[in-house]
Subunit: 246 residues, 2 copies
DNA sequence: CAAGACTGTCTATGATGTAAACAGATAAGC
DNA sequence: GCTTATCTGTTTACATCATAGACAGTCTTG
Protein backbone atom coordinates (compact mmCIF):
# COMPACT_ATOMS: atom_id res chain seq x y z
CA UNK A 1 0.00 0.00 0.00
CA UNK A 2 2.99 2.26 0.35
CA UNK A 3 3.55 1.99 -3.35
CA UNK A 4 -0.02 2.96 -4.05
CA UNK A 5 0.47 5.81 -1.60
CA UNK A 6 3.51 7.07 -3.42
CA UNK A 7 1.73 6.80 -6.75
CA UNK A 8 -0.97 9.10 -5.51
CA UNK A 9 -1.02 12.37 -7.43
CA UNK A 10 0.80 15.05 -5.54
CA UNK A 11 -2.32 17.15 -5.06
CA UNK A 12 -4.19 14.36 -3.37
CA UNK A 13 -1.29 13.72 -1.06
CA UNK A 14 -1.31 17.37 -0.04
CA UNK A 15 -5.08 17.50 0.29
CA UNK A 16 -4.99 14.48 2.58
CA UNK A 17 -2.33 16.18 4.62
CA UNK A 18 0.38 13.69 3.85
CA UNK A 19 3.52 15.65 4.56
CA UNK A 20 7.02 14.68 3.65
CA UNK A 21 9.34 14.92 6.68
CA UNK A 22 11.09 18.25 7.09
CA UNK A 23 13.53 19.02 4.31
CA UNK A 24 16.00 21.79 3.55
CA UNK A 25 14.99 24.73 1.45
CA UNK A 26 12.93 27.89 1.93
CA UNK A 27 9.50 27.65 3.47
CA UNK A 28 6.56 27.80 1.10
CA UNK A 29 5.10 31.27 0.77
CA UNK A 30 1.51 30.09 0.65
CA UNK A 31 -0.64 26.98 0.77
CA UNK A 32 -2.85 24.88 -1.44
CA UNK A 33 -5.88 26.39 0.24
CA UNK A 34 -4.75 29.85 -0.79
CA UNK A 35 -4.62 28.73 -4.40
CA UNK A 36 -8.05 27.21 -4.07
CA UNK A 37 -9.52 30.30 -2.53
CA UNK A 38 -8.14 32.55 -5.25
CA UNK A 39 -9.28 30.24 -8.04
CA UNK A 40 -12.76 29.86 -6.59
CA UNK A 41 -13.07 33.61 -6.25
CA UNK A 42 -12.26 34.01 -9.94
CA UNK A 43 -14.58 31.19 -11.00
CA UNK A 44 -17.48 32.45 -8.92
CA UNK A 45 -17.13 35.82 -10.57
CA UNK A 46 -16.49 34.87 -14.18
CA UNK A 47 -17.07 31.18 -14.67
CA UNK A 48 -14.46 28.53 -15.12
CA UNK A 49 -13.11 30.28 -18.19
CA UNK A 50 -11.95 33.11 -15.96
CA UNK A 51 -9.60 30.74 -14.16
CA UNK A 52 -6.14 30.63 -15.62
CA UNK A 53 -2.84 29.91 -14.01
CA UNK A 54 -1.69 33.47 -14.50
CA UNK A 55 -4.85 35.02 -13.11
CA UNK A 56 -4.81 32.83 -10.04
CA UNK A 57 -1.18 33.66 -9.47
CA UNK A 58 -1.84 37.35 -9.96
CA UNK A 59 -4.67 37.14 -7.44
CA UNK A 60 -2.17 35.78 -4.95
CA UNK A 61 0.49 38.30 -5.86
CA UNK A 62 2.94 35.75 -7.20
CA UNK A 63 4.24 34.65 -10.56
CA UNK A 64 2.42 32.20 -12.75
CA UNK A 65 5.07 29.57 -12.42
CA UNK A 66 5.08 29.64 -8.66
CA UNK A 67 1.83 27.69 -8.74
CA UNK A 68 3.62 24.76 -10.30
CA UNK A 69 5.49 24.22 -7.05
CA UNK A 70 2.16 23.22 -5.51
CA UNK A 71 0.34 21.76 -8.46
CA UNK A 72 1.53 19.57 -11.29
CA UNK A 73 -0.91 20.65 -13.94
CA UNK A 74 -4.06 22.65 -14.38
CA UNK A 75 -6.27 19.62 -13.83
CA UNK A 76 -4.91 19.46 -10.32
CA UNK A 77 -6.10 22.98 -9.77
CA UNK A 78 -9.60 21.77 -10.52
CA UNK A 79 -9.23 19.03 -7.94
CA UNK A 80 -8.34 21.58 -5.30
CA UNK A 81 -11.16 23.89 -6.33
CA UNK A 82 -13.76 21.14 -6.21
CA UNK A 83 -12.68 19.83 -2.85
CA UNK A 84 -12.65 23.26 -1.34
CA UNK A 85 -15.87 24.48 -2.94
CA UNK A 86 -17.91 21.58 -1.64
CA UNK A 87 -16.48 21.62 1.80
CA UNK A 88 -17.35 18.93 4.26
CA UNK A 89 -20.70 17.26 3.71
CA UNK A 90 -23.43 17.99 6.20
CA UNK A 91 -24.15 14.91 8.29
CA UNK A 92 -27.56 13.39 7.76
CA UNK A 93 -29.98 13.56 10.69
CA UNK A 94 -30.18 10.04 12.13
CA UNK A 95 -33.80 10.14 13.17
CA UNK A 96 -35.37 10.51 9.75
CA UNK A 97 -36.20 7.92 7.15
CA UNK A 98 -34.02 7.32 4.11
CA UNK A 99 -36.20 9.41 1.86
CA UNK A 100 -35.94 12.64 3.78
CA UNK A 101 -32.27 12.00 4.45
CA UNK A 102 -31.36 11.57 0.81
CA UNK A 103 -33.61 14.51 -0.06
CA UNK A 104 -31.69 16.69 2.36
CA UNK A 105 -28.46 15.46 0.81
CA UNK A 106 -29.67 16.19 -2.70
CA UNK A 107 -30.77 19.67 -1.75
CA UNK A 108 -27.48 20.42 -0.05
CA UNK A 109 -25.70 19.20 -3.16
CA UNK A 110 -27.92 21.34 -5.34
CA UNK A 111 -27.25 24.38 -3.17
CA UNK A 112 -23.53 23.80 -3.53
CA UNK A 113 -23.86 23.69 -7.29
CA UNK A 114 -25.90 26.86 -7.27
CA UNK A 115 -23.34 28.64 -5.15
CA UNK A 116 -20.56 27.61 -7.51
CA UNK A 117 -22.07 27.07 -10.94
CA UNK A 118 -18.65 26.58 -12.52
CA UNK A 119 -18.49 23.18 -10.85
CA UNK A 120 -20.61 21.84 -13.68
CA UNK A 121 -18.11 23.18 -16.19
CA UNK A 122 -15.21 21.31 -14.68
CA UNK A 123 -14.36 18.43 -17.01
CA UNK A 124 -14.78 15.18 -15.11
CA UNK A 125 -11.78 13.03 -15.81
CA UNK A 126 -11.44 10.93 -12.71
CA UNK A 127 -13.64 9.55 -9.96
CA UNK A 128 -13.63 11.44 -6.66
CA UNK A 129 -10.75 10.85 -4.25
CA UNK A 130 -10.32 14.11 -2.41
CA UNK A 131 -11.23 14.25 1.29
CA UNK A 132 -14.31 16.43 1.18
CA UNK A 133 -15.72 14.67 -1.84
CA UNK A 134 -15.47 11.42 0.03
CA UNK A 135 -17.39 12.90 2.94
CA UNK A 136 -20.21 13.69 0.52
CA UNK A 137 -20.09 10.17 -0.79
CA UNK A 138 -20.10 8.76 2.69
CA UNK A 139 -22.94 10.98 3.76
CA UNK A 140 -25.09 9.82 0.87
CA UNK A 141 -24.42 6.18 1.65
CA UNK A 142 -25.38 6.80 5.25
CA UNK A 143 -28.77 8.00 4.11
CA UNK A 144 -29.64 4.46 3.07
CA UNK A 145 -28.93 3.04 6.51
CA UNK A 146 -31.80 0.92 7.65
CA UNK A 147 -32.88 -0.05 4.15
CA UNK A 148 -32.39 -3.59 2.87
CA UNK A 149 -30.26 -2.32 -0.03
CA UNK A 150 -26.92 -4.00 -0.52
CA UNK A 151 -23.84 -1.74 -0.50
CA UNK A 152 -23.47 -1.62 -4.24
CA UNK A 153 -27.18 -0.97 -4.62
CA UNK A 154 -26.78 1.95 -2.28
CA UNK A 155 -23.91 3.19 -4.36
CA UNK A 156 -25.82 3.03 -7.60
CA UNK A 157 -28.84 4.64 -5.97
CA UNK A 158 -26.64 7.47 -4.83
CA UNK A 159 -25.25 7.80 -8.31
CA UNK A 160 -28.77 8.08 -9.62
CA UNK A 161 -29.51 10.96 -7.29
CA UNK A 162 -26.15 12.51 -7.96
CA UNK A 163 -26.76 12.37 -11.69
CA UNK A 164 -30.21 13.78 -11.27
CA UNK A 165 -29.05 16.78 -9.29
CA UNK A 166 -26.19 17.57 -11.62
CA UNK A 167 -28.32 17.24 -14.72
CA UNK A 168 -31.18 19.25 -13.34
CA UNK A 169 -29.09 22.12 -12.15
CA UNK A 170 -27.20 22.14 -15.41
CA UNK A 171 -30.37 22.44 -17.42
CA UNK A 172 -32.05 24.90 -15.14
CA UNK A 173 -29.15 27.29 -14.99
CA UNK A 174 -28.71 27.36 -18.71
CA UNK A 175 -25.29 26.58 -17.37
CA UNK A 176 -24.28 30.20 -17.35
CA UNK A 177 -24.66 32.47 -14.42
CA UNK A 178 -27.35 34.87 -15.42
CA UNK A 179 -29.56 37.37 -13.75
CA UNK A 180 -33.22 36.36 -13.54
CA UNK A 181 -34.19 38.84 -16.26
CA UNK A 182 -31.55 37.53 -18.62
CA UNK A 183 -32.70 34.01 -17.95
CA UNK A 184 -36.30 34.93 -18.68
CA UNK A 185 -35.31 36.70 -21.88
CA UNK A 186 -33.23 33.73 -22.99
CA UNK A 187 -36.19 31.51 -22.28
CA UNK A 188 -38.52 33.60 -24.38
CA UNK A 189 -36.02 33.75 -27.21
CA UNK A 190 -35.59 30.01 -27.14
CA UNK A 191 -39.31 29.48 -27.19
CA UNK A 192 -39.70 31.82 -30.15
CA UNK A 193 -37.01 30.08 -32.10
CA UNK A 194 -38.38 26.67 -31.29
CA UNK A 195 -41.79 27.78 -32.51
CA UNK A 196 -40.26 29.02 -35.72
CA UNK A 197 -38.11 25.99 -36.47
CA UNK A 198 -40.11 23.10 -35.06
CA UNK A 199 -42.97 23.33 -37.48
CA UNK A 200 -46.07 21.34 -36.81
CA UNK A 201 -45.67 19.08 -39.83
CA UNK A 202 -42.22 17.81 -38.95
CA UNK A 203 -42.22 18.23 -35.19
CA UNK A 204 -45.78 17.89 -33.95
CA UNK A 205 -44.91 16.99 -30.37
CA UNK A 206 -42.49 19.87 -29.92
CA UNK A 207 -44.95 22.22 -31.59
CA UNK A 208 -47.56 21.24 -29.05
CA UNK A 209 -45.27 22.38 -26.28
CA UNK A 210 -44.33 25.69 -27.80
CA UNK A 211 -47.97 26.52 -28.35
CA UNK A 212 -48.70 26.24 -24.67
CA UNK A 213 -49.15 29.64 -23.10
CA UNK A 214 -47.37 28.71 -19.88
CA UNK A 215 -44.27 30.88 -19.57
CA UNK A 216 -41.74 28.48 -18.16
CA UNK A 217 -42.65 25.14 -19.61
CA UNK A 218 -39.11 24.46 -20.63
CA UNK A 219 -37.57 25.25 -17.33
CA UNK A 220 -37.27 22.56 -14.78
CA UNK A 221 -38.04 25.04 -12.08
CA UNK A 222 -35.75 23.55 -9.55
CA UNK A 223 -36.04 26.28 -6.97
CA UNK A 224 -39.27 25.00 -5.59
CA UNK A 225 -41.52 22.32 -6.94
CA UNK A 226 -39.80 21.15 -10.10
CA UNK A 227 -36.69 19.96 -8.35
CA UNK A 228 -38.55 18.04 -5.68
CA UNK A 229 -40.95 16.68 -8.25
CA UNK A 230 -38.24 15.21 -10.40
CA UNK A 231 -36.33 14.05 -7.38
CA UNK A 232 -39.40 12.31 -6.05
CA UNK A 233 -39.78 10.60 -9.37
CA UNK A 234 -36.27 9.27 -9.02
CA UNK A 235 -36.85 8.35 -5.38
CA UNK A 236 -40.04 6.54 -6.31
CA UNK A 237 -37.92 4.41 -8.55
CA UNK A 238 -35.44 3.73 -5.76
CA UNK A 239 -38.31 2.94 -3.44
CA UNK A 240 -39.50 0.28 -5.86
CA UNK A 241 -36.00 -1.11 -5.77
CA UNK A 242 -36.04 -1.14 -1.99
CA UNK A 243 -39.36 -2.94 -1.86
CA UNK A 244 -38.05 -5.51 -4.27
CA UNK A 245 -35.02 -6.06 -2.04
CA UNK A 246 -36.90 -6.23 1.25
CA UNK B 1 -40.87 36.13 -37.08
CA UNK B 2 -38.56 37.32 -39.82
CA UNK B 3 -36.64 39.27 -37.27
CA UNK B 4 -36.23 36.22 -35.09
CA UNK B 5 -35.14 34.39 -38.23
CA UNK B 6 -32.48 36.95 -39.01
CA UNK B 7 -31.27 36.91 -35.43
CA UNK B 8 -30.64 33.19 -35.65
CA UNK B 9 -26.96 32.39 -35.36
CA UNK B 10 -25.41 31.90 -38.75
CA UNK B 11 -24.64 28.23 -38.12
CA UNK B 12 -28.22 27.39 -37.33
CA UNK B 13 -29.37 29.14 -40.46
CA UNK B 14 -26.98 27.04 -42.50
CA UNK B 15 -27.85 23.83 -40.69
CA UNK B 16 -31.51 24.43 -41.37
CA UNK B 17 -30.71 24.99 -45.01
CA UNK B 18 -31.72 28.61 -45.05
CA UNK B 19 -29.81 29.91 -48.06
CA UNK B 20 -29.34 33.50 -48.98
CA UNK B 21 -30.30 34.03 -52.66
CA UNK B 22 -27.40 33.65 -55.08
CA UNK B 23 -24.78 36.34 -54.67
CA UNK B 24 -21.65 37.43 -56.47
CA UNK B 25 -18.28 36.10 -55.44
CA UNK B 26 -16.45 32.81 -55.72
CA UNK B 27 -18.23 29.62 -54.83
CA UNK B 28 -17.43 28.11 -51.48
CA UNK B 29 -14.73 25.47 -51.64
CA UNK B 30 -16.39 23.16 -49.13
CA UNK B 31 -19.44 22.86 -46.93
CA UNK B 32 -20.42 22.90 -43.29
CA UNK B 33 -20.76 19.14 -43.40
CA UNK B 34 -17.13 18.82 -44.49
CA UNK B 35 -16.07 20.80 -41.46
CA UNK B 36 -18.23 18.64 -39.27
CA UNK B 37 -16.85 15.44 -40.69
CA UNK B 38 -13.25 16.53 -40.23
CA UNK B 39 -13.85 17.74 -36.70
CA UNK B 40 -15.69 14.58 -35.70
CA UNK B 41 -12.89 12.47 -37.10
CA UNK B 42 -10.39 14.31 -34.95
CA UNK B 43 -12.58 14.16 -31.86
CA UNK B 44 -13.30 10.46 -32.26
CA UNK B 45 -9.59 9.82 -32.42
CA UNK B 46 -8.27 12.12 -29.73
CA UNK B 47 -11.12 13.54 -27.72
CA UNK B 48 -12.50 17.02 -27.88
CA UNK B 49 -9.11 18.45 -26.95
CA UNK B 50 -7.80 17.26 -30.31
CA UNK B 51 -10.19 19.56 -32.11
CA UNK B 52 -8.75 22.94 -32.90
CA UNK B 53 -9.51 25.32 -35.70
CA UNK B 54 -6.12 24.77 -37.24
CA UNK B 55 -6.29 20.99 -37.08
CA UNK B 56 -9.73 20.90 -38.60
CA UNK B 57 -8.60 23.22 -41.34
CA UNK B 58 -5.47 21.16 -41.95
CA UNK B 59 -7.60 18.03 -42.17
CA UNK B 60 -9.53 19.72 -44.93
CA UNK B 61 -6.43 21.04 -46.64
CA UNK B 62 -7.24 24.69 -46.08
CA UNK B 63 -6.02 27.51 -43.90
CA UNK B 64 -7.22 28.00 -40.38
CA UNK B 65 -8.93 31.23 -41.17
CA UNK B 66 -10.93 29.78 -44.00
CA UNK B 67 -13.18 28.12 -41.42
CA UNK B 68 -14.32 31.49 -40.22
CA UNK B 69 -16.11 32.02 -43.51
CA UNK B 70 -18.46 29.23 -42.42
CA UNK B 71 -18.45 29.56 -38.69
CA UNK B 72 -18.46 32.60 -36.46
CA UNK B 73 -16.67 31.12 -33.49
CA UNK B 74 -15.50 27.85 -32.12
CA UNK B 75 -18.71 27.24 -30.23
CA UNK B 76 -20.45 27.09 -33.56
CA UNK B 77 -18.13 24.30 -34.57
CA UNK B 78 -19.44 22.33 -31.61
CA UNK B 79 -22.99 22.91 -32.78
CA UNK B 80 -22.16 21.45 -36.17
CA UNK B 81 -20.35 18.51 -34.63
CA UNK B 82 -23.17 17.64 -32.29
CA UNK B 83 -25.84 17.84 -34.93
CA UNK B 84 -23.86 15.71 -37.33
CA UNK B 85 -22.68 13.17 -34.77
CA UNK B 86 -26.17 12.39 -33.54
CA UNK B 87 -27.71 12.21 -36.96
CA UNK B 88 -31.42 11.83 -37.34
CA UNK B 89 -33.18 10.13 -34.45
CA UNK B 90 -34.53 6.65 -35.09
CA UNK B 91 -38.32 6.70 -35.14
CA UNK B 92 -39.98 4.87 -32.29
CA UNK B 93 -41.94 1.72 -33.22
CA UNK B 94 -45.61 2.68 -32.93
CA UNK B 95 -46.87 -0.67 -31.74
CA UNK B 96 -45.05 -0.82 -28.44
CA UNK B 97 -45.90 0.71 -25.09
CA UNK B 98 -44.29 3.86 -23.82
CA UNK B 99 -41.85 1.98 -21.66
CA UNK B 100 -40.21 -0.01 -24.39
CA UNK B 101 -40.31 2.99 -26.72
CA UNK B 102 -38.47 5.28 -24.32
CA UNK B 103 -36.11 2.44 -23.50
CA UNK B 104 -35.24 2.07 -27.16
CA UNK B 105 -34.72 5.81 -27.35
CA UNK B 106 -32.48 5.79 -24.30
CA UNK B 107 -30.40 2.96 -25.67
CA UNK B 108 -30.02 4.64 -29.04
CA UNK B 109 -28.93 7.78 -27.26
CA UNK B 110 -26.48 5.82 -25.15
CA UNK B 111 -25.04 4.16 -28.24
CA UNK B 112 -24.54 7.54 -29.84
CA UNK B 113 -22.66 8.75 -26.79
CA UNK B 114 -20.53 5.63 -26.81
CA UNK B 115 -19.68 6.08 -30.46
CA UNK B 116 -18.65 9.68 -29.86
CA UNK B 117 -17.54 10.00 -26.26
CA UNK B 118 -16.36 13.57 -26.81
CA UNK B 119 -19.99 14.64 -26.92
CA UNK B 120 -19.98 14.62 -23.14
CA UNK B 121 -17.00 16.94 -23.13
CA UNK B 122 -18.73 19.56 -25.21
CA UNK B 123 -19.61 22.44 -22.91
CA UNK B 124 -23.37 22.90 -22.92
CA UNK B 125 -24.11 26.56 -23.27
CA UNK B 126 -27.43 26.64 -25.06
CA UNK B 127 -30.51 24.47 -25.38
CA UNK B 128 -30.77 22.38 -28.56
CA UNK B 129 -31.94 24.06 -31.74
CA UNK B 130 -30.23 22.21 -34.55
CA UNK B 131 -32.32 20.01 -36.87
CA UNK B 132 -31.12 16.58 -35.84
CA UNK B 133 -31.20 17.40 -32.17
CA UNK B 134 -34.81 18.41 -32.53
CA UNK B 135 -35.61 15.07 -34.17
CA UNK B 136 -34.24 13.36 -31.07
CA UNK B 137 -36.33 15.58 -28.88
CA UNK B 138 -39.38 14.92 -30.99
CA UNK B 139 -38.77 11.20 -31.01
CA UNK B 140 -38.60 11.08 -27.22
CA UNK B 141 -41.82 13.02 -26.87
CA UNK B 142 -43.49 10.62 -29.27
CA UNK B 143 -42.62 7.77 -26.96
CA UNK B 144 -45.12 9.09 -24.42
CA UNK B 145 -47.99 9.04 -26.89
CA UNK B 146 -50.94 7.27 -25.37
CA UNK B 147 -50.04 8.19 -21.81
CA UNK B 148 -52.10 10.70 -19.85
CA UNK B 149 -49.04 12.89 -19.31
CA UNK B 150 -49.44 16.56 -20.16
CA UNK B 151 -46.97 17.96 -22.72
CA UNK B 152 -44.73 19.60 -20.16
CA UNK B 153 -44.80 16.45 -18.05
CA UNK B 154 -43.62 14.55 -21.11
CA UNK B 155 -40.89 17.06 -21.56
CA UNK B 156 -39.66 16.80 -18.00
CA UNK B 157 -39.87 13.01 -18.15
CA UNK B 158 -37.74 13.06 -21.24
CA UNK B 159 -35.26 15.33 -19.52
CA UNK B 160 -35.09 12.85 -16.68
CA UNK B 161 -34.19 10.05 -19.06
CA UNK B 162 -31.83 12.31 -20.98
CA UNK B 163 -30.06 13.26 -17.79
CA UNK B 164 -29.87 9.67 -16.71
CA UNK B 165 -28.27 8.49 -19.93
CA UNK B 166 -25.75 11.30 -20.04
CA UNK B 167 -24.81 10.87 -16.43
CA UNK B 168 -24.51 7.13 -16.62
CA UNK B 169 -22.39 7.05 -19.70
CA UNK B 170 -20.20 9.78 -18.31
CA UNK B 171 -19.54 7.84 -15.14
CA UNK B 172 -19.14 4.49 -16.82
CA UNK B 173 -16.69 5.70 -19.39
CA UNK B 174 -14.52 7.45 -16.87
CA UNK B 175 -15.16 10.02 -19.51
CA UNK B 176 -12.02 9.16 -21.39
CA UNK B 177 -11.85 6.83 -24.29
CA UNK B 178 -10.01 3.83 -23.06
CA UNK B 179 -9.45 0.26 -24.04
CA UNK B 180 -11.19 -2.31 -21.84
CA UNK B 181 -7.91 -3.31 -20.21
CA UNK B 182 -7.07 0.27 -19.37
CA UNK B 183 -10.52 0.75 -17.94
CA UNK B 184 -10.17 -2.35 -15.77
CA UNK B 185 -6.76 -1.23 -14.57
CA UNK B 186 -8.10 2.23 -13.76
CA UNK B 187 -10.90 0.60 -11.84
CA UNK B 188 -8.56 -1.51 -9.78
CA UNK B 189 -6.34 1.46 -9.09
CA UNK B 190 -9.30 3.50 -7.96
CA UNK B 191 -10.48 0.75 -5.69
CA UNK B 192 -7.02 0.43 -4.15
CA UNK B 193 -6.79 4.11 -3.51
CA UNK B 194 -10.25 4.27 -2.07
CA UNK B 195 -9.42 1.44 0.28
CA UNK B 196 -6.30 3.25 1.36
CA UNK B 197 -7.86 6.66 1.91
CA UNK B 198 -11.39 5.85 3.03
CA UNK B 199 -10.46 4.29 6.32
CA UNK B 200 -13.09 2.46 8.26
CA UNK B 201 -13.14 4.90 11.14
CA UNK B 202 -13.89 8.00 9.11
CA UNK B 203 -15.68 6.44 6.12
CA UNK B 204 -17.39 3.25 7.27
CA UNK B 205 -19.92 3.10 4.45
CA UNK B 206 -17.35 3.57 1.71
CA UNK B 207 -15.06 1.09 3.40
CA UNK B 208 -17.81 -1.50 3.28
CA UNK B 209 -17.94 -1.16 -0.46
CA UNK B 210 -14.24 -1.39 -1.10
CA UNK B 211 -14.06 -4.52 1.01
CA UNK B 212 -16.49 -6.29 -1.23
CA UNK B 213 -14.71 -8.80 -3.42
CA UNK B 214 -16.83 -8.02 -6.49
CA UNK B 215 -14.56 -6.63 -9.16
CA UNK B 216 -16.70 -3.93 -10.72
CA UNK B 217 -18.85 -2.64 -7.91
CA UNK B 218 -18.04 0.90 -8.74
CA UNK B 219 -18.84 0.64 -12.38
CA UNK B 220 -22.34 1.18 -13.44
CA UNK B 221 -21.99 -1.61 -15.94
CA UNK B 222 -24.11 0.01 -18.52
CA UNK B 223 -23.39 -2.44 -21.29
CA UNK B 224 -25.87 -4.94 -20.02
CA UNK B 225 -27.75 -4.98 -16.77
CA UNK B 226 -26.59 -1.90 -14.94
CA UNK B 227 -27.84 0.50 -17.55
CA UNK B 228 -31.26 -1.09 -17.84
CA UNK B 229 -31.47 -1.44 -14.09
CA UNK B 230 -30.90 2.22 -13.44
CA UNK B 231 -33.09 3.16 -16.35
CA UNK B 232 -35.87 0.99 -15.02
CA UNK B 233 -35.54 2.69 -11.69
CA UNK B 234 -36.04 6.01 -13.41
CA UNK B 235 -38.91 4.63 -15.49
CA UNK B 236 -40.57 3.23 -12.38
CA UNK B 237 -40.62 6.74 -11.09
CA UNK B 238 -42.14 8.05 -14.32
CA UNK B 239 -44.67 5.24 -14.18
CA UNK B 240 -45.74 6.42 -10.75
CA UNK B 241 -46.17 9.86 -12.23
CA UNK B 242 -48.27 8.42 -15.05
CA UNK B 243 -50.51 6.53 -12.67
CA UNK B 244 -50.98 9.68 -10.65
CA UNK B 245 -52.01 11.53 -13.83
CA UNK B 246 -54.30 8.82 -15.21
C1' DC C 1 -18.39 45.23 -69.35
C1' DA C 2 -18.10 47.37 -64.90
C1' DA C 3 -18.91 47.18 -59.94
C1' DG C 4 -19.50 45.22 -55.86
C1' DA C 5 -19.66 41.30 -52.99
C1' DC C 6 -17.75 37.30 -51.53
C1' DT C 7 -13.88 33.84 -51.50
C1' DG C 8 -9.55 31.81 -49.24
C1' DT C 9 -5.03 33.56 -47.59
C1' DC C 10 -1.58 36.10 -44.99
C1' DT C 11 -0.05 38.42 -41.22
C1' DA C 12 -0.52 39.78 -36.52
C1' DT C 13 -1.95 39.77 -31.60
C1' DG C 14 -2.82 38.51 -27.01
C1' DA C 15 -3.79 34.37 -24.05
C1' DT C 16 -2.80 30.30 -22.68
C1' DG C 17 -0.25 25.94 -20.32
C1' DT C 18 4.05 24.48 -19.21
C1' DA C 19 9.34 23.22 -19.67
C1' DA C 20 14.10 24.67 -18.34
C1' DA C 21 17.50 27.17 -16.20
C1' DC C 22 18.39 30.23 -12.39
C1' DA C 23 19.72 32.67 -7.86
C1' DG C 24 18.60 32.82 -3.17
C1' DA C 25 17.05 30.42 1.23
C1' DT C 26 17.30 26.80 4.52
C1' DA C 27 17.92 22.61 7.24
C1' DA C 28 20.71 18.18 7.81
C1' DG C 29 25.29 16.07 8.28
C1' DC C 30 29.94 16.59 9.08
C1' DG D 1 29.63 26.30 12.32
C1' DC D 2 30.21 25.23 7.80
C1' DT D 3 29.20 22.74 3.82
C1' DT D 4 26.06 20.75 0.77
C1' DA D 5 21.96 19.17 -1.02
C1' DT D 6 17.52 20.56 -1.81
C1' DC D 7 13.81 23.29 -1.91
C1' DT D 8 11.88 28.06 -2.98
C1' DG D 9 9.89 31.68 -6.31
C1' DT D 10 11.43 33.94 -10.65
C1' DT D 11 12.78 34.59 -15.29
C1' DT D 12 12.86 33.39 -19.91
C1' DA D 13 11.19 30.73 -23.60
C1' DC D 14 8.13 28.13 -26.60
C1' DA D 15 4.30 25.95 -28.85
C1' DT D 16 -0.50 26.29 -29.41
C1' DC D 17 -4.61 28.49 -29.56
C1' DA D 18 -8.79 31.65 -31.06
C1' DT D 19 -9.53 35.33 -33.66
C1' DA D 20 -9.06 40.37 -35.96
C1' DG D 21 -7.76 42.94 -40.19
C1' DA D 22 -6.06 43.73 -44.64
C1' DC D 23 -5.49 41.68 -49.19
C1' DA D 24 -5.86 39.86 -53.95
C1' DG D 25 -8.47 36.96 -56.73
C1' DT D 26 -13.22 35.34 -58.46
C1' DC D 27 -17.80 35.41 -59.79
C1' DT D 28 -22.70 37.27 -60.28
C1' DT D 29 -25.64 41.07 -61.02
C1' DG D 30 -26.67 45.55 -63.24
Amino acid sequence: MDEAMADLPQVLQRLWGIEAPARPGPKPAFQLSDIGRAAIKLADAGGLAAVSMSKVAAELGFTTMSLYRYIDAKDDLYVVMLDQAFGEAPGSPPGEDWRSRITAWAEAFRDGLRRHPWILQVPVTEPPLSPNQLTWMESAMDAFDGTPLAPNERLSSMLLVNIYVRGTVQLAMGLLTRTPEEAAAADRLYNDRLRMLATEDRFPAIATITQQPIPEQLDVDFETEGFRDGLNTVLDGIQARIERAG
